[in-house]
């Protein structure tokens, strides 16, 4: 228990002192996972809409694949992305391995299926006749999609939260494709792993608390968006 209290005290001290290194790590975590989530929202929701609104052969297989993708182990993603981004790999020319861009890429690969899978379930949960109803009110196809997304906003924002939660908390991919380089690719999770392995449990706890506060703040913001304007 002492360790936890000490960690909490240190976390406060680090935050209040505006320790530049901790601040940098925190902001990088937020930036990397935030951008990865945004990319995943675009790709994941796009895929969810495309699958939900169209009938095609093999649709069930595609849905099964999307659902499987929700459980992609970050280490596995990290390994594949690393191999692809190696200097002599197929995307080595990009030269982004061990940069924040690589972490964003890996995290987007992790979050996209989560948002796509949960987003698809959210859209499929709407009454099937609703899109006909919207079209018959005179909507164009894009207006229809917008109204469907709006109608499913509660579970869709829950999907976004799940996606963000999945990537802000993962460590395997970040360490493999980012390398936990001080001042460049060190994020809250990789820093926590490093500090605890060095026996600096107080610092590890401090970083963990910051991570929790960060996750809570972002989800609180999304929850606010989710519940806003709902008639009671």
């Amino acid at each position: 228990m002492d360790l936890i209290w000490e960690g909490l005290r240190q976390a406060l001290a680090l935050l209040l002192a505006l320790d530049p290194e901790v601040l940098g790590i925190t902001l990088l975590s937020l930036k990397v996972s935030g951008i990865a989530t945004l990319i995943s929202v675009v790709l994941g929701l796009g895929a969810a809409v495309a699958v939900a609104l169209n009938e095609f052969p093999g649709k069930r297989v595609v849905i099964a694949l999307m659902n499987t993708g929700m459980g992609l182990p970050p280490v596995v993603v990290g390994l594949f992305v690393t191999v692809l981004l190696w200097r002599n790999g197929p995307f080595g020319f990009l030269g982004i391995l061990y940069t924040p861009a690589a972490i964003i890429l890996a995290q987007a690969v992790i979050a996209t299926p989560i948002i796509a899978g949960l987003g698809l379930a959210a859209l499929q949960h709407l009454p099937p006749a609703l899109r006909l109803q919207i079209l018959s009110l005179g909507a164009t196809r894009s207006q229809m999609i917008w109204l469907l997304l709006k109608e499913a906003r509660l579970p869709l924002l829950a999907a976004v939260m799940a996606g963000f939660g999945g990537v802000i908390s993962e460590v395997g991919a970040s360490i493999m494709v980012g390398g936990n380089l001080k001042g460049s690719t060190r994020v809250l999770t990789t820093a926590t792993v490093m500090e605890s392995s060095r026996g600096n449990f107080e610092v590890a706890f401090a970083l963990s608390f910051i991570l929790l506060v960060l996750a809570f703040s972002v989800n609180a913001l999304l929850t606010h968006l989710q519940q806003r304007g709902r008639p009671r």
């Binding site: 006749a129 609703l130 018959s136 009110l137 005179g138 207006q143 709902r230 008639p231």
Partner: protein, 370 residues
């Protein structure tokens, strides 16, 4: 008949390789209210979805004001002039007002005009007090009222209704049908209503199409189809009664004296003298004799002539002209004893309680539809 608003030719809809709808011809004049009646799976909903341009047909044409809806661009433009209401209200997770406004915004209505038209539609359907209520907290009847208000706020040139009352309990259904009938008549909106309830069709429609297995078995004016069903299937669905448009001569103590086809009949009901009413008489309530029976309790005994005798399963369906159309069923024995054949003069008797008022028209106005 004026130029058709909507015209269907050789329509064919397939689903999974099977033909689910085949309509060779159907036309609607402005102001018509067509009821599609038939059992589940008869193709009523499919026909409505095709008319709403939500389901492209495999073959055939749908013309609206003479223009064929043969491209997605034209169907899209047409969908802004037609609106469909489904069996479920399908309201958005918003307030009632927000729901009505959503449809109007899709039509590019905004500002003061938007507020005005939301209010107007809500007033028409008696839900102005619910405008700020969440659509998730409405009763079934209120929900369907909101859905109808959202649809009619768009002032559609064609309104398509897919069993909008079937999920409602009888009193709620009756009140909503009255309001919808009045609004359709006031606005002159052309409408197509799918239902499996002949009473619903009789109350709202001017025309009737009976469907079975994806085809229209019989289509025509409401009274034409109801009073003269072409085959036993149609009769089983709609030929349950003779419909008569009457005018109220006098009303007292729950009894109405009605003028119809140069005759007067007595009915049970409430209406004002001078008002037009549509009444129904079921064939099993009509008895035939060769002369007036002074000892009978039947208040109505009208002379008439047999016009048609049709074998109908174990019975015969006898159609009469008494100045108005009437039909009854008789056994083969009665047919022989009374020597019923076209041209035979008879007396048709039915009790005042057998004449029920289906709907009433406006005071001094034209007779109610059909």
């Amino acid at each position: 008949m004026s130029a058709p608003l909507l015209e269907v030719q050789d329509l064919l809809v397939r689903r999974g390789g099977a033909t689910v709808l085949e309509v060779s011809a159907l036309a609607l004049a402005p102001g018509d209210v067509l009821a599609l009646i038939g059992p589940n799976g008869a193709g009523k909903s499919t026909l409505l979805l095709t008319l709403a341009a939500l389901l492209p047909p495999a073959a055939g044409t749908v013309r609206f004001q003479g223009e064929a809806l043969d491209s997605e661009r034209r169907r899209q433009a047409f969908r802004r002039r037609v609106t469909m209401v489904f069996q479920e209200p399908l309201l958005f997770d918003n307030t009632v007002g927000g729901n009505i406004a959503t449809g109007l915004r899709l039509h590019g209505v905004s500002g003061a005009e938007l507020t005005h038209r939301v209010r107007e539609a809500a007033d028409q359907f008696g839900i102005a007090h619910l405008l700020d209520r969440s659509a998730r907290r409405l009763s079934g009847g209120e929900g369907q009222r909101a859905a109808l208000a959202r649809a009619l706020a768009l002032r559609p040139e064609l309104l398509l209704l897919d069993e909008p009352f079937s999920a409602l309990d009888p009193p709620t259904r009756s009140g909503l049908m009255d309001d919808l009938g009045r609004i359709l008549a006031d606005t002159g909106t052309t409408a197509v209503l799918a239902t499996h309830d002949q009473a619903e069709a009789a109350r709202l429609a001017t025309r009737l199409a009976v469907m079975k297995d994806g085809r229209i078995r019989q289509e025509g004016g409401l009274r034409q189809v109801m009073n003269h069903p072409g085959d036993p299937f149609v009769a089983a669905f709609v030929g349950m009664e003779s419909l008569l448009p009457c005018r109220v001569v006098s009303a007292a103590e729950g009894l109405l004296t009605l003028a119809v086809g140069g005759q007067e009949i007595i009915a049970v009901g409430e209406a004002e003298p001078g008002q037009g009413v549509l009444v129904g008489i079921r064939p099993e309530h009509v008895t035939l004799s060769l002369q007036t029976d002074k000892t009978s309790s039947a208040r109505n005994q009208v002379p008439g002539t047999v016009t048609k005798v049709i074998p109908w399963g174990p019975f015969h369906r006898v159609e009469l002209s008494c100045g108005f159309d009437l039909c009854t069923w008789v056994t083969p024995q009665s047919l022989a004893e009374l020597a019923l054949a076209p041209g035979r003069p008879v007396v048709a008797a039915f009790k005042a309680t057998a004449v029920h008022v289906i709907r009433t028209g406006s005071q001094g106005g034209p007779e109610p539809l059909a």
